[in-house]
């Protein structure tokens, strides 16, 4: 047998070490996936992400065309450009998927998220919370003597910023919807 060019007694030559170490930069993309509204379709999409080790930053889903039984899933995901390409191709393979749009790659898109914030406090903190809410154009949708529930819409970054400001002012709980997105322009 020709000489072995590998060290014996090690398992570092495993088949699992094949990933390219030239790490590419991570990107965040918003994908709109148009699907048949049939049982299990969301599980298929989520199962694809978990099964293949892709990230989900946020996910929203709702039926958008009741007569055509079509739903729209909006996923925000991060990965290297080649992983993002794979994610789109893999989503496209799912049989009930009609279309996959990469809103980030297709150019400018409008992205919005709705969030509810419960903030409790009294005195100056309460006043400060209300003042900041006005600046962020958050609405008060519920109030007691020691708490508010604010409703805010905006980009995820705006919601994050609002959360950072509310935290020292008695933030109790946040509920976020995840991102809904559409491309800009007529088409």
């Amino acid at each position: 047998m020709a000489a072995l060019n590998i060290e014996k007694g090690t398992s570092k030559h495993s088949a699992y070490d094949l990933r390219d170490p030239h790490v590419e930069a991570q990107e965040t993309h918003t994908l709109a996936v148009v699907v048949d509204n049939e049982a299990g379709v969301l599980a298929r999409v989520i199962g694809l992400f978990s099964g293949r080790g892709y990230n989900i930053e946020s996910l929203t889903v709702a039926e958008t065309d009741h007569t055509g039984h079509v739903s729209r899933i909006t996923v925000v995901t991060t990965g290297t450009p080649s992983v993002i390409e794979q994610i789109k191709a893999q989503l496209g393979r799912i049989v009930p998927v009609h279309e996959v749009h990469d809103l980030t790659a297709d150019g400018a898109a409008v992205e919005r998220e709705l969030a509810l914030f419960k903030v409790s406090g009294t005195g100056n903190e309460r006043i400060e919370a209300l003042r900041l809410a006005e600046i962020f154009r958050a609405n008060v949708v519920d109030s007691t003597l020691e708490s508010f529930v604010f409703e805010i819409t905006g980009t995820p970054q705006k919601v994050d910023a609002f959360a950072d400001l509310m935290r020292p002012l008695g933030l109790v709980e946040i509920a976020r919807t995840g991102v809904a997105a559409l491309s800009r322009g007529a088409a």
Binding site: L4, N5, S14, G47, Q86, V95
Partner: protein, 577 residues
Amino acid sequence: MVVQALKDQGVDTVFGYPGGAVLPIYDEIFLQNDIRHYLVRHEQGAVHAAEGYARSTGKPGVVLVTSGPGATNAVTGMTDALMDSIPLVVLTGQVPTFLIGTDGFQEADTVGITRPCTKHNWLVKDPGRLSDTIHQAFQVATTGRPGPVLIDIPKDVQFATGDYTAPEEARVHHYQPRMDGDEAAIEALVSLIETAERPVFYTGGGVINSGPEASRLLRELVDTTGFPITSTLMGLGAYPASGKNWLGMLGMHGLYEANLAMHDCDLMINVGARFDDRITGRVQDFSPGSRKVHIDIDPSSINKVIRVDVPIIGDVGRVLKRALEVWKARGGRTEAEAVRQWWYRINDWRKVDCLAFTESKKTIRPQHALSRLEALTRDHPQRYISTEVGQHQMWAAQYLRFDEPNRWMTSGGLGTMGYGFPASIGVQVAHPDALVINVAGEASWLMNMQEMGTAVQYRLPVKQFILNNERLGMVRQWQELLHGERYSHSWSESLPDFVKLAEAFGAKGIMVSDPADLDDAIREMLAHDGPVIFDCLVEKHENCFPMIPSGKPHNEMLLGENASTEGAIGTSGGMLV
């Protein structure tokens, strides 16, 4: 209704196993004669048999099993079919709709469990949708990249009467994969063919999936261009092993000349292969100097592992046809002189004769056993081979030669031990007069040995050619080479007496251990008109070479002791061994 839909889909064969949740369908089967049902001994066997049937005929394989354990036993087979792109339609029974979710007797979330191991699946709750769904299932299983689909049918839906939808009236699914390649991409391929100096065709299972016409077109393109061709494990037979441009299989246990041609080429034309890690080794070092064209029907195969220069999404047959037309219309040119020089280099690599071995007078070497099997069956007009998984599988790929597509059934992607025996049964069912041989290792074979009952019951004369090394040979080889010779649990202990085992099932058993008796024993096996277990006791510590250890580039290959490496190192352009 189920049986009617299957008939209308042209189904004449079903592999299955009954149980409470599918009894209404079994009743329908009992009352008719058009569809033959083969009763297996384990649901995994049914799925692999259907895979063998499908791969050897090009038609979808059909499986019928009960709910709960019937469905879960079928999971391995479906995963295998998904990895190897085999079209299957699997019907499972389910508890009645009103019991779903109550942990009813033999209830399992079958569509949940099988979602990741099917191309698509359906739970049919409305009897009115049943026939329509079955027709759609056949469409999805067989179009685009083929794969297994599953239809879960609750028992009350099986009993219900509803309107039958004929195939012509069925809803056409919006799933319509692209078949024709992009014209500009095909032009780019043709330009590369015209200018390449060191081209190689790297072909795969997609050629087989595309059908016999794709193999014919591939042969025409290879022969008229004069380019060398190698194939993956899954694509063997698409181009004939006896063809003059054939380099042999490539990859981890592929031939030296095939792997070096891949490493040193300037144009790689991938036809229906998926850059599997058994092929690429370390991706950064994979064929560094080549431009790569990739023809594949599944967009997700493109750029998944290896970035390519010219992707062509479409069916192999359609794309090759168009490429040939365009190339001929432009004059059918190649850089013939450069390609001739390239062949000189390849022929130098061939001289290494990487499959050479010395016969032993004392023990049968597995390479020798397969060479003799090849010699004694080569002229059979209808020889089909299946394999289990392990060293024997690789030796079979190296030493048996395939001149036609659909003659070679093996579990490549999942590497499922226990695949080969039931697959051979499915092949024999589809081709009653053919010679069907399963090349097996003793450990793999034991995994589905209960199917001996099926073979005997239906008088299927499948030959079980077991290369018995009393070892989990492939595992033992890795432990020897990569884990410091610590042979942790890689023995096959307490093996049965295979001759007696055959007899216990009412079949024939043959045992051979002396090389001098080998030919006669093989002839005896071939002459017997019935299933045979052929227990061939072989050298216990043989390693399978060539071997590219995982994560190594193509030009760092381990060779067997008989390969003549002298002279090759200089020409390979890379670091050998």
